[in-house]
């Protein structure tokens, strides 16, 4: 089965700004690299970023949540330092609605990620779903 990565803003390029962002990786590439900012990315020796194996629909959805969440977090840190950067804020806002949709879908299907969105259902699903350090 082929699993698709959700990448709504791939190859989005931010124009050169006084704040020294010339461009960003898309959320997929940035997430795999651990760095959304092309000007900050530097490899160690000849190591390439790991590819992440997706084995199920659940893992695919979680991967997509993680990549959007990561891109938003990177923009968040950037906006902490440059709170008036409209391009960064617009991009953050674009990711936000995608993130909410994906998170809702995941939590509806597979159980809570946040403990303020737990269903009224016995057994209590916060306890009844695996913790993330356990290998499934």
């Amino acid at each position: 089965m082929n699993y698709n990565y959700y990448e709504p803003f791939n190859n989005y390029n931010m124009p050169m700004s006084p704040n020294n962002i010339d461009s960003l990786f898309g959320s997929y590439e940035g997430y795999l690299k651990g760095n959304l900012f092309k000007n900050l990315y530097s490899e160690y020796k000849n190591y390439k970023p790991s590819t992440i194996k997706i084995n199920s629909d659940k893992e695919e959805l979680l991967f997509n949540i993680n990549q959007i969440c990561f891109a938003m977090h990177e923009l968040n840190l950037y906006l902490d330092v440059y709170p008036n950067n409209e391009q960064a804020l617009n991009l953050y806002s674009n990711y936000q609605s995608t993130y909410n949709d994906l998170l809702n879908t995941y939590q509806e299907k597979y159980g809570p990620i946040n403990n303020n969105s737990i269903k009224n259902q016995i057994p209590f699903s916060w306890v009844n779903t695996n913790f993330p350090w356990e290998v499934e």
């Binding site: 704040n19 160690y44 190591y47 790991s50 979680l62 902490d80």
Partner: protein, 186 residues
């Protein structure tokens, strides 16, 4: 306040037991350049930043460091999970077993327990931000040392990823320190 998200920031899926690597890796949990020290360093420094940019950046990076503590802890847990007592003893983890059994405990690679003397708060935003820049660079260097010590791709992948985070954090701290200097905030 804080709210837990029941997921890792980046997936960890280690299939091969490696006690030696677990022993080395624990320094990024409880060593002088580890994630626990980073998180506490930033949380303690944030109250005396001159404006909300510093307060926000230190809060948000400290919060991310807790996600990194969870990643490192997960790696150690998975590397050690199926070890016998004899195997623990063979790599010098017998004394860890005596004190902690298979529980996690923040130490450096030599077993020296975590201490708050690993970080400073001076109340001087420039001094604190430069300490943070140095801390991120030292953590990057330790991640590189750890990558050199393993050939397991399931371990190298997350370490490469965490190494990049140090680079991004270093640059954000550097930019803020330069802005504060230029604006004569301090």
């Amino acid at each position: 306040m804080w709210q837990y998200q029941k997921k890792l920031q980046y997936p960890i899926n280690i299939k091969k037991k490696d006690l030696k690597m677990a022993k080395y890796l624990v320094t990024q949990y409880g060593g002088s350049n580890g994630e626990l020290g980073a998180a506490l360093r930033y949380l303690n420094q944030r109250y005396t930043m001159p404006d909300n940019r510093g307060k926000a950046l230190l809060t948000d990076i400290a919060t991310e460091e807790f996600a990194h503590i969870e990643m490192i802890s997960t790696m150690i847990y998975q590397l050690v999970k199926d070890a016998t007592i004899e195997e623990l003893e063979q790599v010098g983890l017998g004394s860890h077993y005596a004190e902690h059994n298979r529980a996690l405990y923040p130490t450096d690679s030599n077993g020296v327990p975590f201490t708050v003397t690993y970080f400073a708060t001076t109340g001087d935003p420039i001094a604190d931000l430069y300490e943070d820049m140095a801390a991120e660079q030292k953590a990057r260097a330790v991640y590189e040392n750890l990558i050199d010590l393993t050939e397991d791709e399931d371990v190298i992948g997350p370490l490469l990823w965490l190494r990049q985070r140090e680079i991004v954090h270093f640059n954000r701290f550097k930019e803020l320190a330069e802005i504060y200097s230029k604006e004569k905030k301090v």
